[in-house]
Amino acid sequence: MADNILLDAGSGGMASQRLIKEIFVSRFDNAMLNAGDDAACIANAHAPLAFSADSYTVAPLFFPGGSIGSLAIHGTVNDVSMLGARPRWLSCAFIIEEGLPLATLEAIADDMARCAKEAGVALVTGDTKVTPKGACDKVFITTSGIGEIYANPPLSGASAKPGDAVLINGVIGDHGLAVLAARENISFLSSVKSDSAPLADLVESVIEAAGEVHVMRDPTRGGLATTMNEIAAQSNVCIELDEAAIPVSADVSAACSFLGLDPLYLANEGKCVCVLPRKYAEAALNAMRASKYGRKAAIIGKITAAKPGKVILRTRIGGERALGMLEGAQLPRIC
């Protein structure tokens, strides 16, 4: 194959076949994919099923702690698992800008294969398109995933109840900051790494240990604050968060202070919040901390009936303020 992806590779002919076989099938290697049919035949899925889709357009493609490839796997695996489901089968569709170096696509596919293996999922079907230069930004990936729901009832953002505790499995803001630093070449942030990680095992161990869990959700774009607002609205409850209890690393905290950013609104790709009856909170916390991706888990708040739909932050100094949603993207300050 040439060193760069050419338009031919998306035309469905022999160049396409070679690309798909040598880059994707060889790495993702599983019976369903290897069958080479237009769709994957999943003969033994157990209902109820969880089904999720996500698109990935991150720039730059590679950043400390991850890549568009690892995000494409983790993002969908995590969304599926948040219903209390074991993710099993993923599809992946690529839109590639002509001229993308082959080595770049190979590196992305390597990441995807590695992450899929760790997450225990198979990439069973996909699609590849190549666009003319300028029609897309290097490469866009869309993955969708199917999982088998084991939680009964399935978890839902509408299930939070007054009296519940709110937990998170670790520090916030690292992914958002790492991508920002890489994109804008902010060298003093070079130590911050994306937290991109597969959470299906952690979710399952928490649900098993606690017995009754109401909500699990991963705070991605918009950060923890946005996710809390979504849940407060869906469940029509009030969420009170304890600022001092929310884990933030010293590096992220200092950088945010300097840039005028609020870590509560920065994206995370390896975090999940868990809302469950208070009496099971310690069991859930212990299960998180025993897991590879939950060592710094903490109880960060509670659900009340006080002001339905609102999220309130009890600040470090003992005051309080509303924690709303942003209108758009968070931007660093001027002076």
Binding site: I186, K307, I317, E320, R321, A322
Partner: protein, 374 residues
Amino acid sequence: MSGAALENDLEKLAVAARGPGLCKSLLGRLEEILDGREMRFMEVCGTHTVAIFQSGLRSLLPKSITHISGPGCPVCVTSEKDVSFFLELAARPDVIVATFGDLLRVPGPDGKSLRHAQAGGGNIAIVYSPLDCLALARSNPDKKIVFLAVGFETTAPTVAATVIAARKAGLGNFLIFPCHKLVPPALLSLLEKNDNGLDAFLLPGHVAAITGLEPFAFIPADFQRPAVVGGFEPADLLLALCRMAEMLATGKPAVENAYARVVSENGNPRAREIMDEVFEPCTALWRGLGDIPCSGLALRKEYEDFDACKRLDIYPSAMDKPRKGCRCGDVLKGRITPPDCPLFGHACLPSNPVGPCMVSSEGSCAAFFKYGDV
């Protein structure tokens, strides 16, 4: 002390100034000094506005203290006339408008912002520092990069340094539209024209780090009000408020520095030199406050080839008329608080802002909307 070590120590002190125990004891001290006396203080720094709300300090202040936000957000005090000009610049195919992100959503007279211009094909680049413009200028030799130079004394030195660097590098396609404003003249204008019962001023920490204390000396000298330079952590703010309250109690107003770990009495003379080389004071049009002499910065003659207006031969000409019902001007003067504006939270929302105070991340209305309604 090495740069890294100093930064580390400053960070440690900043962390200490967030300490709940320290804040609790300072709050207690503040209540003692006030002894029920009322204190209406104004801050003139968007970062202070946000810090007071975001830390939850506002919810803890004694009831006799009233916190008023003044014209401290550089985006908010940018006039309608200047915002119209931003949009005019963005419409030119030979121009890339380089701007801090905060200006993107400020609505012009017909409600359209740079965000709309961007969606309509306008070439707009968000920069985190004016120095980013130099790379833009190098990689787009056929375009004029026009940097919207908004900001107070904190930002102006970096912009001046960028102009000097551009000259050294021979970059002829980097231009600025100077909209810088100076804080002390705005405070003078407020105190001269309108007495809204202010007892004291919280002075902007980052601005004072550049200017030093002297430019604010007129506040106690001519208007008998205490003025205290404050930092941004909760304990910094409380310390400044304590100093203010003490001076009110003793009846001995002065300018004081309660942010000594960052601000020195004489400020940053080197930064002022750089500013002075490139800029000279001029009359500036402030939203809500009108024309204030010597409150803006214009490029000196030696650097006028960096002036976007002169080089492109276009000048701001739109009427300076606020949108119907918008009371940003009164909010900026401290005459009303955001909830007093009839549009607040109804016709004027972050999703659909009528004026810049609701848009800017350091705007008073945005802060009230985002943090206030618990």
